[in-house]
């Protein structure tokens, strides 16, 4: 920083005590401006090596950690990886030992169907994430500085394509391999399942890249739907076999299955190579806007991840989906006052029927939990599933909670806004409870054993926990960095940063705790009522704080006025 700049900054620092109100018109001082122009001389040649050295020097100047600290951190990371790896290996070996001994229909079907479901889910996820991010992307800086330059975009972007393909191979490969290993297969079978999963998912990424160069999505959307339906059908089949609704699939010999999987892997490898070559050949043709949209999405989501703000991540995705959609057929609202908000939420149900998919799937959860003989934990797990399924139905509450701008335009109290926003999800939760009563009563011989009334109570309490968990999650505020911080091993953190991670989960756990611990369900009902009163903003902390501060200011002003009064001494007698 130059001396001149420092002097300018010093002169700009405000005085400690600002001037009070002055009503006379001040004359504006006319600043004499000087402008800087480049000297009239030809620029000298610049050596790229010198530039590189200069950048190196800058980076040295910005180092915040010594090499010793870096080695120390690496040691901790390495130690953690080894420890966790050893734990996973031990778990796999134990599971294999136990699983190979199990020859029941459930075990056999699980051994075949779970890795199959993982494979289909991996393929669907690979296409979904590729479509979301690109898969080829570039940052805004690269878009500004490099895309305009007379260079080959293919050379620049080839590396960008290789990274998602490699990730597309590794992540499904490891995940499916782990599931296969846990289900008690031998290592050659585990390798066969893992390869089929990894190479197939990578082929999906390569196909997405090839389609990205042509700006087409129809094929990808169709394939994604097929893989998703297959994954869901396989997952449902696992439950159906477990509760003996359908017979266990006949498993051919493991060697035959292994050979089939290796054959599938070989086909996927071939598809991967062909599609990757096709995508690489056409990389030059991807539009800059298409590349940058993925880059900006990654940047936004990185920022939200650093702030541990899961709500913001969802907001970014919702906003992006809306931009892609762009246009809707407007519908006329109904009702006046707060009911207009409720009717708009009803309209949303028809506009986004896709939001019902997770809700319908969440209906299966209590039945699956009961079938898996975990009925004691059913309220907690099903409540969390319902929370996740109901979040998309609370879009209006999310927008009205995250900034004050929109809520300020509505002539309602906070309680009115929140209550109106809870109506539609509340009705959906009631329907959910009615449809899951058999799961809470116990629909298998080995499941829960409740009376119809207590089953109904358990279903209703779980539904209430699900709604309130979702409401709590969507009303999460931003972390306040000006508030007192919490000391952690990672340094000072605002408490909201940590507590936001547990928002929603805390309400579900609180409301369902008496049910899980075997206490009277009325305790859960009481807790649900208290949570509802709190969530609808009856005790709005901001409002209370504002009122308290105003009262303190008034009291302070009154005290000052009392002190300023001229005291007249009483007449002496």
């Amino acid at each position: 920083m130059s001396k001149k700049s420092r002097k300018l900054i010093r002169s700009g620092v405000p005085a400690a005590e600002p001037a009070a109100e002055a009503v006379e018109v001040a004359t504006e001082p006319v600043a004499k401006r000087t402008f800087f122009f480049l000297p009239d001389a030809e620029p000298v040649d610049v050596d790229e090596r010198d530039l590189h050295d200069l950048m190196k020097q800058w980076r040295h100047g910005r180092a915040t950690r010594t090499i010793g600290q870096v080695i120390s951190d690496s040691y901790v990371t390495l130690f953690s990886v080894v420890l966790v790896g050893a734990m996973i290996t031990s778990t796999v070996l134990n599971a294999q030992h136990g699983a190979t001994a199990c020859t029941t229909a459930s075990c056999n079907s699980g051994r075949l169907l779970l890795p199959t479901a993982m494979i289909f889910a991996g393929y669907a996820l690979a296409i979904g994430l590729s479509r979301l991010f690109g898969p080829v992307l570039a940052s805004a800086a690269e878009g500004s500085w490099l895309m305009d330059a007379p260079i080959s975009r293919r050379r620049l972007l080839a590396g960008r394509l290789v990274i998602p393909v490699v990730v597309g191979v590794l992540v499904p490969l490891l995940a499916t391999g782990l599931v296969a290993a846990l289900s008690g297969m031998d290592w050659r079978s585990v390798a066969a399942w893992a390869l089929a999963s990894g190479l197939g998912a990578a082929a999906m990424v390569a196909m997405s890249a090839a389609e990205q160069t042509r700006e087409r999505e129809v094929l990808l959307k169709g394939l994604q739907l097929v893989w998703t339906l297959l994954a869901l059908a396989t997952g449902v089949a696992v439950i159906a076999v477990a509760v003996a609704w359908i017979p266990a699939p006949s498993l051919s010999t493991e060697a035959n299955l292994r050979m089939s999987l290796f054959a599938v892997s070989a086909v996927w490898l071939l598809v991967l190579v062909v599609l990757l070559a096709a995508a690489l050949r056409r990389l030059n043709l991807i539009r800059r806007a298409r590349l940058l949209s993925g880059g900006s999405l990654v940047a936004g989501m990185q920022g939200a991840m650093f702030a541990l703000d899961m709500g913001l991540i969802r907001d970014i995705l919702v906003e992006r989906r809306a931009i892609e959609k762009g246009h809707v057929r407007p519908t006329k609202g109904r009702g006046l006052g707060p009911s207009a908000l409720v009717w708009r939420d009803v309209e949303r149900l028809f506009r986004s029927p896709g939001t019902f998919v997770p809700l319908v799937l969440s209906l299966l959860v209590p039945y699956a939990i009961d079938a898996l003989r975990m009925s004691q934990l059913n309220p907690l797990i099903s409540g969390l599933a319902l929370t996740a399924a109901l979040v998309p139905f609370l879009g209006s509450l999310r927008v009205l909670s995250r900034t004050g701008g929109l809520a300020r335009m509505l002539p309602f109290k906070t309680t009115q806004i929140r209550t109106a926003a809870m109506v539609v999800p509340g009705i959906l939760a009631v329907l959910w409870a009615m449809m899951t009563v058999p799961a809470f009563v116990g629909f298998t011989d080995t499941g829960a054993d409740r009376t119809a009334w207590s089953g109904l109570m358990a279903a209703a309490i779980t539904a209430a926990a699900g709604v309130f968990g979702a409401v709590r999650w969507v009303t999460a505020g931003k972390a306040d960095y000006s508030a007192p911080m919490m000391a952690t091993a990672s340094g000072a953190l605002p408490p909201a940063l940590i507590f936001n991670l547990f928002r929603g989960i805390d309400m579900v756990a609180l409301i369902t705790a008496p049910l899980i611990l075997g206490a009277d369900p009325l305790w859960s009902v009481g807790l649900a009522v208290v949570v509802f009163i709190g969530l609808r903003g009856t005790f709005n902390l901001d409002e209370l704080r504002a009122e308290q501060e105003a009262m303190q200011r008034d009291a302070a002003r009154a005290k000052t006025e009392r002190n300023d009064r001229i005291k007249i001494a009483p007449p002496k007698r």
Binding site: E319, A322, G395, G404, P411
Partner: protein, 221 residues
Amino acid sequence: MARKTPVLKIAGLRKAFGPVVIVDGFNLEVAAGEAVALTGRNGAGKSTVLRCLIGADRPDDGTIEVNGVRASETNPVIRRDVATVIDDLDFFPDLSVVEHLDLLARAHGIPDPDAAVDEVLHEVQLVPQSGQLPGTLSSGQRRRLALATAFVRPRTLLVLDEPEQRLDVEGVAWLAERLVAERERGLAIVMATHDPVLTEKVATRVVRLGDRGRVDEGGSE
């Protein structure tokens, strides 16, 4: 002649961010049918005054009353009376332009919301974009939508922070005419602006904020 009852009354407003005092001892009264333009250089405190006024920022000291009610962002009476167009306006990502206006008109209990929405939509020239989602609008169209949200609902005080921003020349001229009409119908207006056209045509009073909360008040009427 007796002075009109003020719609807005600000007394002794003080707001500081850390050691930097933005506004101190700021007083302002705005009656019905008056339009006050807050002017001044960047950083003079115009937006801070407006944010305190609508309750988006909490003042360190001073009182702000709208129609005799202490201003608070969460007070439904204030929300009913004060229409604002400042930069923190958010939109529902899944509702179209016309649906936003329809929702606002209905929420405020306008008897014939369809007619009100149609008129405002024509006026801000967003009829072709009525089915568009806000994320796809240009910045100028978003500003027009924000202004439309203020005009489609009842109000006694209109608070605008640089409303000319991102509007084209024709748009600024329309806005000036509209604000004059609003003022003549008895609406109180407070706006921060750098636009000489708006200041000259709309403002009945100009309050120039100087450095460090110093108020230099002049008039254009």
